[in-house]
Symmetry: C2
Amino acid sequence: MTLSNPYLVVKLGGTEGVDFSAICKDVARLISEGQKLVLVHGGSAEANALGEAIGCPPRFVTSPSGYTSRYTDRDTLEVFAMAVNGKINTFLVEQLQMLGINALGLSGLDGKLVTAQRKASIRIIENGKQKILRDDYTGKITGVNISLLQTLLEGGFIPVIAPMAVSEAGEALNVDADRAAAMIAGALKAETLVLLTAVPGLMRSFPDESSLIKNLTVRQLEEALNFAQGRMKKKVLGAQEALEGGTGKVIIADGRFDQPISNALSGAGTTIVP
Amino acid sequence: MTLSNPYLVVKLGGTEGVDFSAICKDVARLISEGQKLVLVHGGSAEANALGEAIGCPPRFVTSPSGYTSRYTDRDTLEVFAMAVNGKINTFLVEQLQMLGINALGLSGLDGKLVTAQRKASIRIIENGKQKILRDDYTGKITGVNISLLQTLLEGGFIPVIAPMAVSEAGEALNVDADRAAAMIAGALKAETLVLLTAVPGLMRSFPDESSLIKNLTVRQLEEALNFAQGRMKKKVLGAQEALEGGTGKVIIADGRFDQPISNALSGAGTTIVP
C-alpha cells in the first residue's frame, strides 16, 4: 500500500511530569498546519494510583534480560482498562475536542487495531531466582490494522490510542505503550515517531543531563541498550522496531514543557535515524 | 440519506441481573445471520461500585417532574468514564472478539459521535424543596454522527457505544444510555430498537409481572409515563424519541435469560410501534 501522507506518530508518557495539556495544544497547532497525526498514550501512573485506591496495587516484574514490566493478572487488567482506556483516553480526547480537534479514542482491542501474542507464561527474576508466572494478560505485538487507521484519518478523525491489544483468541491484553507506538509508526511508515517522556532524551550516564545523546543511528541502538536505564530500554527497543518497520526517524524528547512536539521536530532530544 | 440496511440497535442495561454473556452470544448469532447491529450499553452498577470503592459514592437526584438521574460533578465524571468507558466497554468488546465478532468500542465523545447540550445547572427536589445544582456534567443529546457509524458498519465493525457525549465546547458529558440508544436508533432509522433490562417489560402495576403490557402504540406512551416506575420512565421516553426519530419499533425486554434479543424479536417483552 502506498501512503501519500507524511504521518507523525506521537507517544505521550504515562509518567508523572509529562504535560498533557501542553502536548494537546501542540497537537492542535500541528494539525491546524495540516499535519496528519496519530497519538498513542500510556497511563502507568494512573493505573498504579487506581490500583492502590481499590486494593489492587501494581506489581512489577523483571525479566532475566533486565526488562521491567507490569504483572497483569485479570484484576490488574481491569484496573489497567479503567485507568488507561477509561480515564486517560477519554480525557485526552476531551482535551483535544475542547481545542477543536475531532479526536477519536480507541484501544488496540477495538476493531483488532493492534494484535498481539499473549504471553501465557512469563519468566521473571525474583530475589535472584528465576520464576514462572502464569495468568498474565500481556502480549507481544504482532500486527497493526492500518486500514482502520487510514479510514479514520481519511475521515478527518485524530486517533488517540490506548495501549491494549487483542490476542488471536480475542482476549484483551496490556501492551507496552512505547512499543505499540513504534509498531504503529512502523506500520504507517510514519515520517517521524516522537516518544515524549519526563527526561530530555537518551543519556549516556543517566541522570546526568549533560550526557544527553543528540544523534544516533539504528546501528548504535544495540549499544544503547546497555546504558539505557529502566523504561528507557523500552523506548530504545521501540525506536529499533519503528525504524526497522520503515519509520523515517525516531525522536525521544522531553514532554514536560511547552510545545514539546514542535521542539522535538526542531532538534530537541535524541534523534535516531536508520 | 437513504439507508439500505435494516439496522438493529440493542441497549444492554447497566443494571444488575442483565446477562452480558447471553447477550453477546445472541449478538454473535444474529450477526452471523447477516444482521447489521449497533450495541449501546449502560454501566450504572459498575460506576456505583467503583465510586464506593474509591470514596466517591454516587449521588442520585430527582427532577421536579420525577426523573431520577446521576449527579455528575467532575470527580463523578471520572469515575463514570473509568467504569463505563474503561471497564464495561473494553470487556464487552473483548467478549465479542472472543466470539469472533470484530467489535469496536467508542463513547459518544469519540469523533463527536453523540453531541449534547450540557445542563449547566439542574433543578432538583430535595426534602420537598427545589434546589439548583451547578457543575453537573450531564447533557441532553442533540445529535448523532451517522456518517461515522456508517463508516464503521461498512468497514465490518460492530460499534459498541458507551453513554457519553460531547458538548459544543468539547466537554465530556454523561448521558442516559437508554436515551442515547434511542437517539442512535432514530438517527439510523433502525428497523428495531431493543432495550434490554432486568424486568420482563413495561408493567402497568410494577412489580406485578402479570401486568406486563405486550403491545403499545406511541400515542399510549404519554399515559405510560404515569405508571412507569423509576428508570422505566427513561425507557418510555427513549421509546418515544426513537419512534419519533423514525425507528420502526421499540421492544422493552428481559435481558436476564438466554437469547434475550432473539426472544424480544419473537414477541417477548413490550413492543411499541408508531
